[in-house]
Amino acid sequence: MDWLDAHLIPALDGVAYGMLLFVVAAGLTLAFGSGGVLNLAHGTVYAMGAYIAADIGDGSWGMLVLALAVGAAAGATSGGVLAVAVAPVARRGHLDQALLTFGIALVGGDMLVSYFGADQRQVAVPKALEDSVTIAGHQYPTYRLAFIGVAALLAGLGYWLLVRSTAGAAVRATTDDPEMVAALGLSPRVVHTATLVVAGALAGGAGVLGAPIITPSPETADTVMLWSLIIVVVGRLGSVLGALFAAIAVGEVQTLGVVLAPDLAPYLLFGAMGIALLVRSGSGILPEFAARARVLATRARALKGGGA
């Protein structure tokens, strides 16, 4: 109980970080899942949203809502622009697309710095959320708690949309078999563009709401991008539920992990990622190994039979 008491706050922080990263990474995994676009400019869209929150937000609810609308709209627009930009290289494989989006990320990052400045920005939070609440005798920032709630709502909504709705079925079908989707009367390109637009809006909106947690600075885009990539890879590309678990895990490693093993802090995230990948690939590598061994055994028997 003492242990829990001492680590409650970092653990909660981990959830808040994790939920924030989940909202960002969900967009990334969605875009990859439906269109095969590994969008390396996704972190830049988060940074843009965070800067917008810092610029527009003044501590009032109205301005927060406005910032959210502007951030989501800007994110959606960037998703649309991205869809147009990658269309010409759509058939040339993941690497070309990734390179293109990486270039867009570099240019976009520079534009953000030249427009918003190179300083780390502080973000005003509405007064009602500025204080702390008491949880089991500990003080915890109200904003982070509220954010956890909003992100959980978003996660639930996203899951429902993707897994339960017909639109979600269309997105998943496009991932699987664009030719079939076209035969149903849906343009795979429209589905693909819509997915990128929604993913962009998610990242922009996450930037606005997450700005007080992961604040806007010239490094924000890279940090968020790197963490999102880890989440998406560990949680399996294209899987929303996997991304949720991976995001919480990354959040906890970054907060609880640092408290528990401060000496190992710089290596924790990558160590955890390595372990996760090893454990997970076990299910793929081992059966394949067994299958190959069986084939070899059969061949060996056939050779022996032939020789006798």
Binding site: A169, A170, D176, E179, A182, A183, L184, S187
Partner: protein
């Protein structure tokens, strides 16, 4: 009967290989039309060109009086051309009902943003699932279905689009005899508003279903007629027998 689909001098070549060579074909409204021919005769190529999955090298395709030669496949689908694939194409990670709903999405007159509209679409989709014998499996994942049932689901998805022309690419392939009986019953019960163009190797299915048969050979239509006429045609016998001789010497 008027012509629903007119294919004129349609050619598709892949490099130096000519899969379809200036082919002409007409499909009448409400037709029960089968395309047969030896392997590599261009049957699936022709079907793909009509559906828009593939684009022609030259020639013209007209559907319901409009030139659709260069129309994108989803536009053709909305215009009333539905198809099934040689390998039954369903979304394995979605439920059976969701698959059919996807097929109905762009074709239904009911408003999907209204609760009543959604219910009507879902009711229609359930009715279609009943005709293909998949009632009770609505909430199963499509990927869990057996091959035969996946075929029937593929057909249900195509029917949900309320097509005027239904293209079926070897619907009986890989089906058990019992499944083929179900398939034939479903096809026989189709409304006369739907024309069917069928590519099929199983000649029993062709004989039981088609009223018109076109034989393709080396990318060109050899002859068109009723099943009885086709069976008696010497040129058809030669096309098939010639192939058998080649197969025997190989």
């Amino acid at each position: 009967m008027t012509d629903l689909l007119t294919v004129t001098e349609l050619t598709r070549s892949y490099g130096s290989f000519v899969a379809l060579d200036r082919a002409d074909l007409t499909v009448a409204e409400g037709a029960r039309h089968a395309l047969i021919g030896p392997n590599g005769a261009g049957k699936t190529t022709l079907l793909n060109l009509i559906a828009g999955t593939d684009l022609a090298t030259s020639g013209r395709i007209a559907f319901a009086g409009r030139d659709i030669t260069w129309q994108r496949p989803h536009r053709r689908s909305r215009g009333g051309i539905a198809r099934t694939f040689q390998h039954p194409s369903v979304v394995p990670v979605a439920t059976v009902l969701d698959n059919v709903l996807l097929g109905a999405w762009h074709h239904h007159t009911a408003a999907p943003w209204r609760r009543a509209g959604r219910r009507r679409i879902a009711d229609d989709c359930r009715a279609i699932l009943e005709t293909v014998g998949l009632t009770g499996l609505e909430h199963r994942q499509a990927g869990e279905l057996s091959h035969g049932r996946r075929r029937m689901l593929d057909l249900a998805v195509a029917l949900a689009g309320r097509p005027r022309l239904l293209l079926l690419d070897e619907p009986a392939a890989g089906l058990t005899d019992a499944d083929v009986t179900v398939l034939l019953a479903v096809l026989r019960d189709l409304s006369d508003d739907v024309a069917v163009l069928l590519v099929e190797h199983n000649l029993d299915v062709v004989a039981a279903f088609a009223r018109t048969v076109t034989v393709l050979h080396h990318g060109r239509p050899l002859v068109t007629g009723t099943p009885a006429e086709i069976q008696a045609d010497p040129a058809v016998r030669e096309a098939y027998l010639g192939r058998r001789k080649v197969a025997e010497t190989a």
